[in-house]
């Protein structure tokens, strides 16, 4: 039987504030354990949390970027459960009156635009971090993360495949980065995703029983975890078995999902309004002021790159998919006007190497000016295209300027006719067979000879000049 896959996501993103949501402790990542804590985030008796105004501002900004309606009145609630990562035994979150609702995000699936509904966006505090002892006989708790501001974004069950879920997450990440509300670093936990997945016979209107997937630490893991879960559910249904509504944990090592044997009572959170925090009332004027601060979104930037720089639609799409990459491109074009050449390097050498290194553009020392300077060196004939690739790689790794690299490694192109002429003569003398072939009409043989000259000069010869000299000498 054919089944339809139904997926909804819950995404947590850390907001880019300096201090925590309800106290003045830093949100800085890392730090020695339990050094970013105070009586408020430790939940000591008698303290009073006070909301960080920046959290409201960034939350509203994120919600606007996701086309949501901002609630004129929202409030905080306590979500009660016992777990050692939660010093107060409740998490301050938003329950029935979230910050925003009814948004959407458009994604591209197979060349078509699809709208994915956003049910709600709400504010909450992060929990602490548990470290399990090597022997496994006890656990250790670090409360540095406790109270770091998060937004939770809940989607409608509009996604129809694990691949679609991954596309959605990539788009969401890019939007949140463009809006400058979160840096979305998955490896630092500033973007996390849980997924609800169910299947139903094609054409059926009723939803099947869903399972909730947790512990997926990358977009790839989300896709793989969902693929596994869909397969598992299909197998169960085909054998006439029932799917149990439960939370399952994705295990990266075994590529399987496992039941999290938490008691069902654990989901009884007994929410109630947080009496220590007054409600949030947002005026239209305030919301509109924030709307004005929303920077150019990927779609608009893509359009502008096509119109302003004459980039092909494909290039513009790839470059604007990440804000950091688009910013890099734009800075570079300020220094070097041929946008298409910049785009070729960014999409080719740069993205290729970044993917191989599994890094983001802002994690390497290369600057836009270095790329622009390198392209200028190529134009001047100081280095060849082939050498440029070497220089580029070196720049990406060390952050040194192209001039320094060319100078130190002696990579300057040999464009001196006298000097090259000697090398060409030597290559002709050393390769009588190819010379004979060329003179006998096999014009392709010149390619081999050019290659030999390049080899002799370790790629530094000006290829046009080598071609010209070889032809002259062979045909004379």
């Amino acid at each position: 039987m054919d089944y339809e896959v139904i997926i909804g996501l819950e995404v947590h993103a850390e907001l880019l504030t300096d201090s925590k949501i309800f106290c003045c402790c830093t949100t800085e990542f890392g730090g020695a354990p339990n050094t970013h804590c105070c009586p408020v985030c430790l939940g000591l008796p008698g303290v009073l949390p006070v909301t960080n105004e920046k959290v409201i501002e960034l939350g509203v900004k994120a919600a606007l970027a996701l086309n949501c309606e901002i609630s004129p009145y929202s409030k905080f609630d306590r979500k009660n459960y016992f777990y050692p990562d939660l010093p107060k035994a409740y998490q301050i979150s938003q329950y029935d009156l979230p910050l925003a609702r009814n948004g959407y995000l458009e994604i591209e699936v197979d060349g078509k635009t699809k709208k994915i509904g956003i049910t709600r966006v709400h504010l909450e505090e992060d929990a602490g971090k548990l470290v399990h002892s090597e022997t496994g006989s006890y656990s250790l708790v670090d409360y540095n993360r406790t109270g770091v501001p998060l937004i939770e974004i809940v989607t409608e069950p509009d996604l129809r495949s694990p691949a679609e879920a991954k596309i959605f997450l990539e788009k969401l990440k890019s939007i949140l980065q463009y809006a400058e509300v979160s840096d979305c670093k998955m490896q630092e936990g500033s973007l996390r995703c849980d997924a609800n997945v169910s299947i139903r016979p094609m054409g059926s209107k009723e939803f099947g029983t869903k399972t909730e997937l947790k512990n997926m630490n990358s977009f790839k893991a989300v896709q793989k975890g969902l693929e596994y879960e869909v397969k598992r559910q299909k197998k169960l249904l085909e054998r006439g078995k029932k799917i149990i509504q439960e939370t399952r944990r994705w295990d990266e090592n075994s590529n399987k999902t496992y039941t999290m044997r938490s008691k069902e009572e654990a989901h009884d959170y007994r929410y109630f309004p947080e009496p220590d925090l007054p409600p949030i009332v947002l005026e239209k004027g305030y919301i509109e002021e924030i709307r004005k601060t929303l920077p150019e979104m990927p779609y608009d930037r893509k359009k502008r790159y096509i119109e302003e720089y004459g980039l092909p639609e494909y290039d513009a799409g790839v470059i604007t998919s990440s804000k950091a990459l688009a910013d890099f491109f734009e800075e570079c074009v300020k220094e070097y006007v041929d946008a298409k050449t910049v785009s070729n390097w960014v999409m080719g050498e740069l993205l290729g190497t970044l993917n191989a290194m599994d890094k983001e553009i802002d994690e390497i020392p290369l600057t836009p000016k270095h790329l622009a300077d390198m392209l200028k060196l190529m134009d001047k004939g100081t280095i060849s295209g082939k050498i440029a690739k070497k220089v580029f790689k070196e720049m990406m790794e060390t952050g040194r300027t192209p001039d320094e690299i060319v100078e130190e490694k002696g990579l300057k192109q040999i464009a001196d006719e006298g000097e090259l002429s000697k090398i060409v003569d030597k290559v002709i003398a050393d390769n009588p067979k190819s010379v004979e072939d060329y003179r006998a009409g096999k014009k392709k043989a010149i390619g081999y000879l050019v290659g030999q000259v390049m080899k002799e000069t370790r790629g530094k010869a000006n290829p046009q000049l080598v071609n010209k000299l070889l032809r002259e000498k062979l045909e004379s």
Partner: protein, 96 residues
């Protein structure tokens, strides 16, 4: 009776309270009398009354996004029953 002994056991479990049979019976009775009183309040016409989510007539109490010094690690751990290398030490947590 709206609240049964089972409800009391459930709520007690969630709150990590350990009740004996006598206490269970007592709390079942007491919780029901509270609900009975609520029932009386429910007779009021509240059609046009907004639900109260906060008792004080205040809103939007915010602070600036400014970092101030946190506690020293020794102070953070001062009340901890057990600690190790700057961490709180707790019984083993079973994830699955």
């Amino acid at each position: 009776m709206k609240i049964t002994k089972k409800d009391v056991e459930h709520v007690a479990m969630l709150a990590r309270l350990y009740l004996d049979e006598e206490e269970k019976a007592k709390y079942t009775r007491q919780l029901n009398s509270i609900l009975d009183y609520m029932e009386k309040l429910n007779q009021l016409d509240t059609e046009k009354v907004e639900p109260t989510s906060h008792v004080l007539p205040i809103k939007n109490v915010f602070r600036k996004d400014r970092v101030e010094e946190s506690l020293a690690n020794e102070e953070v751990l001062a009340n901890a029953p057990d600690k190790e290398n700057g961490y709180f030490k707790v019984p083993k947590i079973i994830e699955d």
